[in-house]
């Protein structure tokens, strides 16, 4: 079985995002960028499935600017076999990303597609579900555990009430949650090796996908800022404050 894994280049999770003064977006100039953390978990899971003998090949895909190559090299250094960069300098919405991934899935015929449950940039949480819909295949979102057996995959999902299990017929789409695994660091030799792994360059037009946005961003603004309040000296003062709030 082949696994397709989608990765996105986003602001590093340690960076505090700042809104641009002109209100057109978030300032990403000279900001550290990394692989979306949920996508790292997706790459890791793909590698573990291959290590268990459940997958033969891992193809990493990214849709984004030329620099997303670095993100793909990271996936290759972790252990993906080859990569596809669908290059565009435009913002691509989840729906268009899903359409491009669908076209790639048509070509590659993966048994499993792994994606992060959300990008920590736009926080949409849509792409995997949309891809599953367009492929006409089942989806296992917010995965906490993934078990491939024969022609099905069992996915334990992190849901509002705890955990739930679904069994999906392959091919299927799975999106990762935080507890699925702890991604490995790429070793130096593997980083070197990744440089010579195949990476093919494409464009959205190669897949006949129109990436014109459906949502127009009218403005991006700062959220209301909370002011720091008071520090109390001891528990008695805290008790008084809590009583004044009327909750005890």
């Amino acid at each position: 079985m082949k696994i397709l894994v989608a990765v996105k280049r986003v602001i590093d999770y340690n960076v505090k995002p700042r809104v641009k003064a002109d209100g057109t977006g978030v300032d990403l100039a000279n900001v550290k960028m990394s692989m979306n953390p949920f996508d790292e978990i997706a790459v890791e899971e793909a590698i573990r499935l291959r290590e268990k003998g459940k997958a033969a090949e891992i193809v990493a895909v990214s849709i984004g600017p030329a620099k997303a190559q670095e993100t793909l090299r990271t996936a290759l250094a972790m252990g993906a076999d080859r990569a596809i960069l669908v290059e565009t300098e435009d913002e691509v919405e989840p729906l268009a990303v899903a359409k491009i991934l669908k076209a790639i899935a048509d070509e590659e015929q993966p048994g499993l597609v792994l994606l992060g449950k959300q990008a920590i940039s736009d926080d949409s949480n849509q792409t995997g579900q949309m891809l599953a819909a367009l492929m006409g295949r089942p989806q296992g979102t917010f995965a906490n555990a993934v078990e491939v057996e024969g022609d099905s995959v069992t996915v334990k999902r992190e849901v509002d009430g705890g955990l739930e299990t679904v069994k999906l017929t392959l091919p299927a789409v799975v999106t990762t949650d935080l507890r699925l695994n702890e991604p490995r660091y790429a070793s130096l030799p593997n980083i070197m090796k990744a440089k010579s792994k195949p990476l093919s360059a494409k464009t959205p037009a190669d897949y006949g996908v129109d990436t014109a946005p459906r949502l127009k961003t009218l403005k991006v603004s700062e959220p209301p800022v909370r002011q720091a309040g008071v520090k109390v000296a001891d528990v008695d003062e805290l008790v008084a404050k809590i009583k004044a709030l009327g909750i005890a």
Binding site: I120, L163, A228, G229
Partner: protein
């Protein structure tokens, strides 16, 4: 505009988050409520949805295929129904996030995730970058698919409406997925997204046993829901559904008490709309104090038991 709200329910009752979604839908136009489920529970939930103020009509899709909200089956049910509606609204909950994008893709529209306000027929605001920016976005699609952040809208009254219930049938089981059970711990504590008071614990709580010994008595005293940081969940102190934050639950109680939580942006994203924030942390420079209304610097293992005792 005609809107359809996907109802979340349990024990024959409509979840609070759905009541907030009904309010958001009402800002766009008339509201029909879709109840998917099976058997008596679904029938009761449909009857409950019919009394929600602002709901004009209830659609009930009942059958084994809809018992577990499997996205494959529920999306296949909703898509043809959308011929009659201009907008679908779901909670930004694990169910809503699972189902809505599947419907959106099948309708070829771009979903609006996690809206916090309705600015016009096609214009909404939504947080991005862990709530560090608020985007105002306008849809150009012929139909809208939206998930709604429950804490941003008032709850519709659960009584006062008198809608009729209509049965609808969908294509049934798509044969792609099946439900294999759930692991959830039933508790009498208030559910996080509707609790008035929340006590949350972080990595500092050491282990599951210590978390229980320190946090639960305080929560019991205050009749509070219990939350946690990602670090506390990852370390196995508490189950995953306790996680508050950007990628966990979004909460906005009257009082949020953060115990041994540093205040990473991902955590703040989930609780900074709380009315009053109280922080207990031994590090006076912990970022949590920048958003806390009331802070106490010190060792939580001394402070929390003393506080519980004195309340």
């Amino acid at each position: 505009m005609k809107t359809l709200v996907l109802v979340e329910h349990g024990d024959g009752k409509v979840h609070d988050a759905t009541l907030a979604t009904v309010t958001a839908a009402g800002k766009l136009g008339s509201v029909a409520a879709l109840v998917c489920g099976d058997g008596e529970e679904a029938a009761k939930a449909a009857a409950a949805a019919a009394t929600v103020a602002g709901v004009d009509k209830v659609l009930l899709a009942s059958g084994p295929a809809y018992a577990q909200m499997l996205a494959e089956n529920v999306a296949a049910l909703i898509v043809p129904l959308m011929d009659d509606y201009d907008a679908l609204l779901c909670n930004a909950s694990s169910n809503g996030k699972n189902v809505a994008p599947r419907v959106a893709a099948l309708l070829d529209v771009m979903q609006l995730s996690d809206i916090i306000s309705v600015e016009g027929d096609k214009t909404f605001t939504r947080p991005i970058y862990a709530g560090n920016a608020i985007a105002t976005v306008e849809s150009s699609d012929p139909k809208l698919v939206i998930t709604v952040r429950g804490t941003a809208f008032a709850k519709a009254a659960s009584e006062g409406g008198s809608a009729g219930v209509e049965n609808v049938s969908g294509p049934g089981d798509q044969g792609l997925s099946s439900f294999g059970g759930c692991e959830s711990v039933k508790s009498d504590r208030p559910e996080l997204t509707s609790a008035k008071v929340i006590v949350s614990g972080g990595r500092a709580l050491k282990d599951a046993e210590t978390f229980k010994e320190v946090i639960l008595p305080l929560a019991d005293k205050l009749g509070a829901g219990v939350g946690a940081s990602r670090a506390a969940v990852d370390a196995g102190y508490v189950p995953n559904d306790y996680q508050v934050g950007q990628t966990g639950k979004i909460v906005a109680p009257q009082v949020y008490i953060a115990v041994g939580i540093s205040g990473a942006i991902q955590h703040l994203a989930g609780m900074k709309d709380s009315k009053t924030i109280i922080a207990i942390n031994k590090d006076e420079d912990a970022p949590i104090f920048q958003v806390a209304d009331i802070g106490l610097v010190g060792d939580l293992f001394k402070i929390v038991p003393e506080l519980t005792g004195k309340l």
